[in-house]
C-alpha cells in the first residue's frame, strides 16, 4: 500500500490536468444547461484528491532517502529525453504546499467569483497551474523544467487575461506573457547550449558535471546568465519585474496562487541549477545585485502604491529578491525556507485583502478606512499574514531571515534589516489605511464576507500561526543561539515592530514628497523606459523592414516586370515588315557576337 502511494506520485500532476480537461466543455459553451458551476466543483474535487495523495505520500517518504523514477519521452537521433521524478521529502512537501494552497484558493474562488460567467476558464487554468507546479517540483530534468515554465507562462497570459474585455487587462496579459517569454527564451538558449557541454539535463548529472568541468570562464558566465534569465522573468525580478504589477488586473483568486507560488517556480529552478551558476563568480554577483535591487526597490515601490493589490505585489518582487541573494551567496536551503514562509504568508495577505475588495468594490487605498470594527476576522488574518511575512518572532520568516544572516556579513545584515523595515512599514501603512481611522462611503456597509472566502482565510491564518511548530518538528529552527544571532534577532524584531508601527501611525496615502511619490508609484518609470526603448525600437524596425519589403524588395520585382512589359510594348513597333530593318538587326547581332568571341577576358 505504502509503495503504491509512493510510486503513483506521478498521478499528482495528473489530477490537475484531469480537472482541467473536465472543465473544458463548459468554457466555450458546449454545455449550457447546467451553467458553468460544475466545472469548478470537479476541479475542487480533483485538487482535494491531489492534496490527500500528496499528504499521505509525504508521511510515507518523510525522512527517507530520495527515490527517482523515470520514463522515456522521446528517443531520437542520439537524443534521449527522459522525464524523471524525484520523490523526496522536499519535493513531496512542496506538493503538499501546492495542492493545499490551490485547494484553498479554489474554495476562495467559488466565493469570489460567485457571479462570474468564466468559471470554467478560471478553474481549468488553476488546474493547469497546479499540474504544472506539481510536475515542476517532481521533475529532475532542466529541459522539462523549461517546458513547464513555458507552459505556465502561457497559463499566466490566459489567467491574467481572464476579464479580457477590459483594455488594461489585455495589455497586462500581453506584457506578462512577453516579459516572461523573454526570460524563458534566454533560458532556452542556455538549455540548448548546455547539452553539448554537459551531455545531460538531469540535475544530478549537471551537478556532477559542474564539479569536475574546466570550461572557459567566459562561456560559463554566458551560460549562467542565460540560465538565470528564466528565473528573473518568472520571479518578477529587476529588470523583468513589471509584468507582476500589471498582472494585478487579473482575478484575485488567481492572484493568491500567483503571488505566493507561481512566482517561486523560477526560484525553484534557480536552486536546482545552483551548481552550474557557481561556476562563474560573475553570475553569482549578478544574482546578488539583481536580488538587492529588487528587494530594496520592490519594498520601496510598495510604499507608494495606491492600489491595494499592487502594494502587495511589489513585496513579492522584494522577497524573491532576497531568495536570489540567498542563492547568490550559496545558501540554497535558506532560500527554500524563505520561499515556504513567504508563500504561506503572502497567500494569506492576498486572501484577506481579497475579501475586503470583494464587498467594498474598490482597490483604492484612499477609499478605505475604519474596517477594524466591522471586519475583525479579516483584520486579524491580515495581521497574522503581515507578521508571518516580516521577521516577527516566533512566526515563519523570522527564522528564515535569521538563518540567512548566519554567515554574518555586514552588508547583508544591513540589507535584510532595511528590507524588513520597509516591508513592515508598507504593511503597517496598508493595515492602517484599511482598518483604522474613520469609515469612508465605500466601507460604511462592509460586513465580513460569506463562508467560501472566510473559511480558507481563517484556515490559512491557522497554518501560518502553526508554521513555527512545523519548522520545529522538521528541525529547521536552530536549537542553539549564538551571540551574534541573538543580537541580529533582536535587531530584526525591533525593525519589524518599529517599521510596522511607523507605517500604521503615519498612514500615508501618499508620500509627502510629490516627486519621490511619483517616481515610486510609477515603478521608477520602468514601463515608460521600456515603451520608449525596446518596444519603440522593435516597432520601428518592423515598420521599416516592412516598408523595405513592400517598396524595395517587391518594388524591384515589379520594376523588372514593368520593364519587360515596356520592352515588349516598345519592341512591337519594330515588327514593321521591312526586310532591311531585319537584315540590319541580324548584322548587328553577328557583329556583337563576333566581338564577344574575339575579346577574351
Amino acid at each position: 500500500m505504502a509503495e503504491t502511494f509512493i510510486h503513483s506520485v506521478w498521478l499528482i500532476p495528473c489530477y490537475g490536468i484531469v480537472g482541467m480537461l473536465f472543465a473544458l466543455p463548459w468554457f466555450p459553451g458546449v454545455i449550457r444547461r447546467t451553467g458553468p458551476r460544475p466545472s469548478g466543483y470537479v476541479n475542487l474535487l480533483m485538487t482535494l484528491f491531489g492534496f490527500l495523495h500528496s499528504l499521505f505520500t509525504f508521511v510515507l517518504v518523510w525522512g527517507k532517502p530520495a527515490q527517482t523514477e523515470s520514463f522515456t519521452w522521446l528517443e531520437a537521433a542520439n537524443l534521449k529525453l527522459s522525464f524523471g521524478f524525484e520523490i523526496s521529502s522536499l519535493s513531496v512537501g512542496a506538493l503538499v504546499l501546492i495542492t493545499g494552497l490551490n485547494f484553498l484558493s479554489q474554495i476562495f474562488a467559488i466565493g469570489y467569483l460567485e457571479m462570474d460567467w468564466g468559471w470554467a476558464r478560471l478553474f481549468a487554468l488553476l488546474g493547469l497551474f497546479e499540474a504544472g507546479m506539481a510536475a515542476l517540483v517532481l521533475c529532475d530534468n532542466l529541459f522539462f523544467s523549461y517546458c513547464i515554465l513555458e507552459i505556465l507562462t502561457l497559463g499566466t497570459y490566459l489567467l491574467v487575461g481572464f476579464w479580457f474585455n477590459q483594455s488594461l487587462v489585455v495589455s497586462g496579459a500581453r506584457d506578462a506573457f512577453l516579459t516572461k517569454r523573454i526570460g524563458d527564451l534566454l533560458l532556452l538558449m542556455g538549455v540548448i547550449a548546455l547539452l553539448p557541454l554537459a551531455g545531460s539535463w538531469n540535475y544530478q548529472d549537471l551537478a556532477r558535471w559542474a564539479a569536475r568541468t574546466t570550461i572557459d570562464p567566459t562561456l560559463a558566465t554566458l551560460l549562467g546568465l542565460a540560465l538565470i534569465s528564466g528565473p528573473i522573468g518568472k520571479c518578477a525580478q529587476f529588470p523583468l519585474h513589471l509584468w507582476l504589477d500589471e498582472a494585478m488586473e487579473g482575478p484575485l483568486p488567481a492572484t493568491i496562487l500567483r503571488n505566493s507560488l507561481v512566482v517561486t517556480t523560477g526560484a525553484w529552478v534557480l536552486v536546482k541549477i545552483a551548481p552550474i551558476l557557481a561556476l562563474s563568480p560573475v553570475v553569482l554577483g549578478t544574482l546578488i545585485v539583481i536580488g538587492s535591487i529588487s528587494a530594496v526597490g520592490g519594498s520601496l515601490i510598495a510604499i507608494a502604491q495606491i492600489d491595494i493589490k499592487r502594494a502587495l505585489s511589489f513585496l513579492v518582487s522584494a522577497y524573491l529578491g532576497l531568495v536570489f541573494i540567498a542563492v547568490g551567496i550559496g545558501q540554497t536551503q535558506e532560500a527554500l525556507l524563505l520561499i515556504l514562509t513567504f508563500s504561506l504568508s503572502m497567500a494569506l495577505l492576498v486572501m484577506s485583502v481579497g475579501g475586503i475588495i470583494w464587498n467594498c468594490m474598490t482597490q483604492d487605498l484612499t477609499q478605505f478606512g475604519g474596517l477594524w470594527s466591522r471586519r475583525p476576522i479579516s483584520a486579524i488574518a491580515f495581521l497574522v499574514g503581515a507578521a508571518g511575512l516580516v521577521a516577527f518572532p516566533p512566526l515563519g520568516s523570522f527564522w528564515a531571515f535569521l538563518q540567512l544572516a548566519e554567515q554574518v556579513s555586514p552588508w547583508l545584515v544591513g540589507l535584510l534589516l532595511l528590507v524588513n523595515t520597509l516591508t513592515a512599514f508598507g504593511l503597517g501603512r496598508v493595515f492602517g489605511l484599511v482598518f483604522a481611522g474613520a469609515t469612508h462611503p465605500m466601507t460604511e456597509r462592509a460586513p465580513e464576507v460569506h463562508w467560501p472566502m472566510m473559511v480558507p482565510t481563517t484556515l490559512l491564518a491557522g497554518f501560518v500561526l502553526h508554521l513555527p511548530i512545523v519548522l520545529w518538528q522538521v528541525q529547521l529552527i536552530p536549537a542553539q543561539w549564538i551571540d551574534t544571532t541573538l543580537l541580529f534577532a533582536i535587531a530584526l524584531s525591533t525593525s519589524s515592530i518599529f517599521g510596522g508601527i511607523a507605517g500604521f501611525r503615519l498612514r500615508l496615502a501618499q508620500l509627502p514628497w510629490p516627486r519621490v511619490q511619483e517616481m515610486l508609484a510609477r515603478d521608477f518609470y520602468t514601463g515608460d523606459i521600456y515603451r520608449l526603448s525596446v518596444v519603440f525600437a522593435v516597432a520601428q524596425i518592423s515598420q521599416i523592414v516592412s516598408i523595405v519589403d513592400r517598396y524595395f524588395v517587391d518594388g524591384l520585382v515589379n520594376l523588372v516586370g514593368y520593364f519587360s512589359l515596356l520592352g515588349g510594348e516598345s519592341l512591337k513597333y519594330s515588327t514593321s515588315g521591312r526586310t532591311q530593318f531585319y537584315a540590319l538587326t541580324i548584322l548587328l547581332g553577328i557583329v556583337a557576337m563576333g566581338c564577344a568571341v574575339a575579346v577574351h577576358f
Binding site: 466555450p28 522521446l74 542520439n78 507552459i151 507562462t153 487587462v169 527564451l185 523592414v545
Partner: protein, 496 residues
C-alpha cells in the same frame, strides 16, 4: 501501391470533369481524398521504419533514350509529407464553400494539385520530378485567379505563376545539366555519378537548385510572391499552398540539394545557415508590422521556413529529423491558422486587426474558434506541449553545435513570433465586442471539425512526438552520416 496516390486523384479529377452533375463534384472529391487519406495511413503502417532505403519501389521504363523512367519510391523523408499532403487536401476540400462557383473545375483542380504533390514526393527520377513540379503550377494559378479574394487576385496569380515558373525552369536546367554532364543515367537519382563531377560544377548546379527551391519555399529575398498569393488565395487554397506546396521546396532541398551534392553542400552550408536565420528574423519582423491577420500568418511562414533551411544546412542527425518534423508541424499549424482566419473572415467580414475585437465573447462572439486560434498561434510560437515546440527544439538543438550564432538568432525569431501572435490574439480574441456590429452568423459544428481535427493532431504530436519521429529517424540519420562521410573525404580539415 504508390501509384494509387498519384493516379487516384487524377482519375477522380477526370470523373468530376466528365460527369455533368455539378452538385456531386464535392462529394466525389471528398470521397476520393478520403480514400487517399486511408491509403496513405495504410502505407504508414506497412512502412518499415528500420530501413533507410526506398520502399515500395515501382519502376517502369518510359523513354530509356532520355533516361526518363517512371520510378516511385518512399522513404522516411517523403512518407510524413505524403501523409500530410493527403490529410491537408482532405481538409482543403472539406473546408471549401458548399455553394462555390464552377464546382467541377474547382474540385478537379484541387485533386490535380494533390496528384502533382504526391508525384513530386514519390518520384525517383529527376526529369519526372521536374514534370510534376511544373504540373502544380497551372491548377494553383487558376485556383488563385478564379476563386481568389479581391480584385488583386489576378496580379497575385500571375506573380505566383511567373515566380514559380522561373523556379521550375532553374530546377529543370540544373537537372538537364546533371544529365548532360554526368550522363542520362544520373536522371534516375544516382548520387555517385554526380560525385564524380568537379566540385566547381557541382557548386554551380547546386546553386541553380537552391535558387529554384528558394523561390518555392520561399526564402528571403525570393519571397515576394508569397504575401500576395497567400492573402489572395481562398482559405482552402492557402492551406494547400502554405501547408504542403512550400514543403515541396524544402523536400527538394534535402532530396536534390543535400543528398545529391553533399560536397558542394558542405561548402555552401555556412552561408545557408545565415540565410536561414536572416529569413527567420526578416519574416517575423515583417509579420509584426502587418495589419491584416492573413498577411501576418503568411509572413510567419517565411520565418518558420528559415528554421528548416538552418536545419538542413547543419545536416546533423538531430537537425535533419527536426527539419522533417518542422515541415509536418508547420504544415499542420499553418493550415489551422489559415482555416481559422478564413472562418473569422467569413463570419465577421473582416480580417483587419483594427476592425476585429473581443471574439472570445461567449454569447455573441466566436469563443471556440478564438480558443482554437490561441492554440494555433501558441503552437506556432513554440509553446511546449504542442508540436511546433518539439520540431523547433530539435532543429535548434541539432544546429547549435555547427552554427551557434544562427541558432541563437532563430531563438530570437521564436520570441518575435510570440510577439506578433500575442498582438494578433490580443486584438482579435481579447477586447470588447462592438455591440452595434456583433451579429455574426453562428459557427456550425461541421465548420469546426477541420480545426478540431488539426488541433487534435497538433496536441497529439506535441505530447507524443515519438509517433512522428519514429518514421523518419532511420532515413535522416543515414542521410546525415552520408553527408558526414562525404565531407570528411573531401574536406578533412573542416571536421573536428
Amino acid at each position: 501501391m504508390l501509384s494509387v496516390l498519384v493516379w487516384l486523384p487524377i482519375i477522380g479529377a477526370v470523373i468530376i470533369g466528365l460527369r455533368p452533375q455539378k452538385n456531386q463534384a464535392r462529394s466525389i472529391a471528398l470521397s476520393v481524398s478520403f480514400g487517399l487519406v486511408v491509403w496513405s495511413f495504410w502505407l504508414l503502417f506497412q512502412f518499415s521504419s528500420s530501413l533507410s532505403t526506398m520502399q515500395f519501389i515501382e519502376a517502369l521504363q518510359w523513354v530509356p533514350q532520355l533516361g526518363l523512367n517512371y520510378r516511385l519510391g518512399i522513404d522516411g523523408l517523403s512518407l510524413p509529407l505524403v501523409v500530410l499532403s493527403s490529410v491537408l487536401t482532405w481538409v482543403a476540400i472539406y473546408s471549401s464553400k458548399r455553394e462555390i462557383e464552377r464546382p467541377r473545375l474547382y474540385y478537379a483542380l484541387i485533386l490535380l494539385v494533390n496528384a502533382g504533390l504526391a508525384g513530386g514526393f514519390l518520384v525517383q527520377n529527376l526529369l519526372l520530378f521536374a514534370l510534376f513540379y511544373e504540373l502544380e503550377l497551372v491548377p494553383i494559378y487558376l485556383l488563385i485567379a478564379i476563386w481568389g479574394g479581391t480584385e488583386r487576385r489576378g496580379y497575385a496569380a500571375i506573380k505566383f505563376l511567373t515566380y514559380t515558373a522561373v523556379s521550375g525552369f532553374l530546377i529543370l536546367s540544373a537537372f538537364l545539366g546533371i544529365g548532360f554532364l554526368a550522363g542520362s543515367e544520373a536522371f534516375s537519382y544516382n548520387p555517385q555519378l554526380i560525385a564524380a563531377l568537379p566540385i566547381a560544377t557541382q557548386v554551380v548546379l547546386l546553386s541553380l537548385i537552391l535558387f529554384g527551391f528558394g523561390i518555392k519555399i520561399p526564402l528571403f529575398p525570393l519571397h515576394t510572391w508569397l504575401p500576395d498569393a497567400y492573402a489572395e488565395a481562398s482559405p482552402p487554397v492557402a492551406i494547400l499552398l502554405g501547408g504542403v506546396l512550400a514543403k515541396l521546396g524544402t523536400y527538394g532541398l534535402v532530396r536534390f540539394g543535400l543528398n545529391l551534392f553533399p560536397e558542394a553542400w558542405h561548402l555552401l552550408a555556412p552561408g545557408l545557415a545565415v540565410l536561414g536565420a536572416v529569413s527567420a528574423i526578416y519574416g517575423s519582423l515583417v509579420a509584426l508590422a502587418q495589419k491584416d491577420i492573413k498577411l501576418m500568418v503568411a509572413y510567419s511562414s517565411i520565418g518558420h521556413m528559415g528554421y528548416i533551411l538552418l536545419a538542413i544546412a547543419a545536416a546533423t542527425p538531430l537537425s535533419l529529423l527536426g527539419a522533417v518534423l518542422q515541415m509536418v508541424s508547420h504544415g499542420l499549424i499553418l493550415a489551422m491558422l489559415f482555416y481559422l482566419v478564413g472562418l473569422i473572415e467569413a463570419k465577421v467580414g473582416t480580417r483587419d486587426l483594427d476592425g476585429l475585437n473581443g471574439l472570445m465573447n461567449p454569447v455573441r462572439g466566436l469563443p471556440l474558434i478564438s480558443a482554437l486560434l490561441i492554440l494555433a498561434g501558441m503552437a506556432s510560437a513554440g509553446i511546449p506541449g504542442l508540436v511546433g515546440f518539439i520540431a523547433e527544439f530539435l532543429v535548434l538543438q541539432g544546429s547549435f553545435v555547427p552554427y551557434p550564432i544562427p541558432t541563437l538568432l532563430c531563438v530570437v525569431c521564436s520570441g518575435l513570433t510570440a510577439v506578433y501572435f500575442v498582438i494578433l490574439i490580443s486584438r482579435t480574441c481579447f477586447g470588447k465586442l462592438d455591440n452595434a456590429t456583433a451579429y455574426y452568423p453562428s459557427v456550425l459544428w461541421s465548420e469546426r471539425i477541420p480545426a478540431l481535427l488539426l488541433a487534435g493532431l497538433i496536441l497529439l504530436f506535441g505530447l507524443q512526438p515519438s509517433w512522428l519521429t519514429h518514421w523518419s529517424e532511420t532515413t535522416t540519420t543515414a542521410l546525415a552520416s552520408q553527408i558526414k562521410i562525404a565531407a570528411a573525404a573531401n574536406f578533412p580539415g573542416d571536421l573536428p
